[in-house]
Symmetry: C2
Subunit: 400 residues, 2 copies
């Protein structure tokens, strides 16, 4: 009898997303002529930049000719892309990583899941609350039910305290999804210190680092001394270059980072992840990797930063107008997310319904990110300027 891996039964269906879709459908049925504006989804709206398009078209042409066709790729990723990542993402910030410490992937969701597999099912995991739900679900699927939630509240500016118990794997996300808050250099130093003292590993998700403006906010955890021994860094081209539908990402796994066998022997996470990828992953597509490489040209950098500026202006406008009518907001600086504090007594689904039914604007109820998200609401800056403006105008007219 083929028995199921019962860890998979502990995952709930995606209630948040399906409930939002259901409510939208109902609203549309009853209001067929009203345009819903979606400030809920974390997906980009601007198309791929010309430099990326050109590179992908050129690579597609190469795939059409026998002389330049590329079959199976290199599981780790092509050197041409890894070298540019090392140069632009790291060396410019005085971080030195080697080529075999970068693994190209097809999105941070699968990268996060893949690295997590290499740790024992008995590892103690700490997540922030509120949190990106996939962190939790991946760990539950791997049989890790003993998850510690570190409370993010207004009092700590959504940056949880260093735990006073032992944790094996700590997920940090900065700039944070959903709260839009960021970890300063000083805070990150404390986390690295904690991880070193506890032989813990930090999963550092910095897929929104391109939104950072402040000098004091590290873009990479490796800007902190000693972090190579304790941190894996997850990066993505999804928000960086609008690759949500193209799929490209990378993970940095420094060779200094050691795991331990039960009997205390050291093993290399880097070596084991390479082994994992060679068995379970088929390499990122050539065309995709050429597209990703293109963002590191001068022209590519100029173009993607222009797009990021566009989203940042949305965030700034949203934050400013919502504060004008009395809302307290977090995030929206160094981040594409605005974390809205709801007026006393309104819960986050109630606010969702109100926003949808009164002004046809969709956001994400904070409680969908954990219990400590209750009383908050996430808005994203990824819509078009026009839609963002119209949504905020509708809100300010109705809620002031």
């Amino acid at each position: 009898m083929a028995v199921v891996n019962e860890d998979f039964l502990n995952i709930k269906n995606d209630y948040l997303f399906s409930m939002i879709e259901e409510k939208k459908r109902d609203f549309k049925k009853n209001n067929p002529d009203t345009k819903i504006i979606n400030l809920g989804i974390g997906d980009v709206s601007l198309p791929l930049v010309p430099t990326v398009i050109n590179a992908m078209e050129k690579a597609t042409k190469e795939m059409s000719k026998k002389e330049t066709f590329r079959g199976y790729g290199i599981v780790q990723g092509y050197d041409f892309l890894i070298e540019r990542i090392l140069e632009v993402e790291y060396k410019r910030r005085n971080v030195n990583l080697e080529k075999d410490e970068i693994f190209i992937g097809s999105g941070s969701k699968s990268d996060l899941a893949g690295v997590s597999e290499i740790f024992s099912r008995n590892c103690k995991v700490a997540l922030m609350d509120p949190v990106y739900p996939a962190y939790r679900d991946v760990n539950i699927m791997l049989g890790r039910n003993d998850i510690t939630y570190l409370k993010g509240t207004e009092e700590n500016n959504f940056i949880p305290e260093i735990p006073n118990e032992h944790i094996d794997i700590i997920y940090l996300c900065s700039p944070n999804n959903p709260t839009g808050t960021v970890l300063t250099r000083k805070q990150l130093e404390l986390w690295v210190k904690y991880a070193k003292e506890n032989n813990s590993v930090i999963f550092y998700d910095s897929v929104y680092e391109i939104f950072i403006d402040d000098e004091d906010i590290p873009h990479s955890i490796y800007e902190i001394e000693g972090a190579k021994e304790v941190a894996v860094e997850f990066r993505s081209f999804s928000k960086l270059a609008g690759f949500t539908g193209v799929r490209c990402s990378f993970v940095a796994i420094p060779k200094e980072l050691k795991l331990y066998t039960k009997s205390g022997e050291e093993v290399d996470l880097n070596t084991l992840y390479r082994r994992r990828q060679s068995v379970k992953y088929g390499a990122a597509p050539y065309i995709t990797q050429r597209g990703a490489e293109a963002i590191y040209s001068d022209e590519g950098q100029r173009e993607i930063r222009e797009n990021i500026k566009y989203y940042k202006e949305n965030a700034k406008y949203m934050k400013q107008e919502l504060e004008k009518i009395g809302f307290i907001t977090y995030g929206g600086e160094n981040s594409p997310y605005i974390w809205l504090k709801l007026p006393n007594g309104i819960d986050s689904w109630e606010f969702f319904d109100k926003l949808l039914n009164e002004v046809a604007v969709v956001g994400t109820p904070g409680v969908g990110f954990g219990n400590y998200g209750e009383g908050f609401f996430r808005l994203t800056a990824f819509s078009s300027k026009e839609d963002t403006k119209e949504a905020i105008d509708r809100i300010t007219k109705s809620f002031k």
Copy 2:
């Protein structure tokens, strides 16, 4: 202390591949002017067909404009591709599957790994020997060390007997990698019968089905009555349409297929795989899926079948010429692989060395696929016609 998942320590490094690379490097150093011909790797040599290139170029253009840009995809895959798969791959063979029974992926390697995760680590697995090594490694990574190897020998034409013990998961690959042999309708019926009687699940890897010519050989396991209750089918565009560097695949998981909890309750594999994908997979890229869709147009079908014909002619030529000089061969019909029986007393690494050093041709030692591969050697038909001809000429001149 972050403890490693010790199942990952049970995987050996890829000895086969790295040894082959090392021997090639040495040969090149000593013989810088000799052209090595590679009949070892299972990678295609013909470029993408024009219909696919056009579709991908068109989709890339769409990604460059705000009005037609596509961000995050649908995790299961786009309907436009799934509908064509249902029509061309299944309905034409009188197999009826529903849209939500097909999952688009990024290659069968990751699909095979993903489905396998949903089964208990205590499941008893049966693999053929010789076998595609990733089947084994994925199961070892999931903690399944109790693997039964079903012997494929000349006596059973490399089609193992139905086991007389209980097995939970059976991997079948037809046309087979590495032996090039195929399962007939009758044989497949016996396997489906066994699986039903034992509540087993068959992982049916038919990524080479496009090479099948014989009427009696099923292209899909669902051509066998009752197979929907017991089989998951893995398909890929890699060999079908030269997508080894593009990455697209699909898995069929019929809703009839049930797994069991330890206490005997039924659960849907289809539902659990959808849940797995939504947590751990980021959807296949839009451009890739448009490229895959294009092979199902009349022109696309004509073009890809022309490429397959080219490889089949290579296989036919190789088989015929090698048999002329006295080799016994398996496969090479309904398959891109030729499984060469070595003369008595020569082991497969010895033959590898001989072939490399005497005629500068590279193949794959049979023992790399398992103990029962010893005494055999795999050659592939995926090289160019010219290289294939030259390699075979060199071999026949030297070995007759």
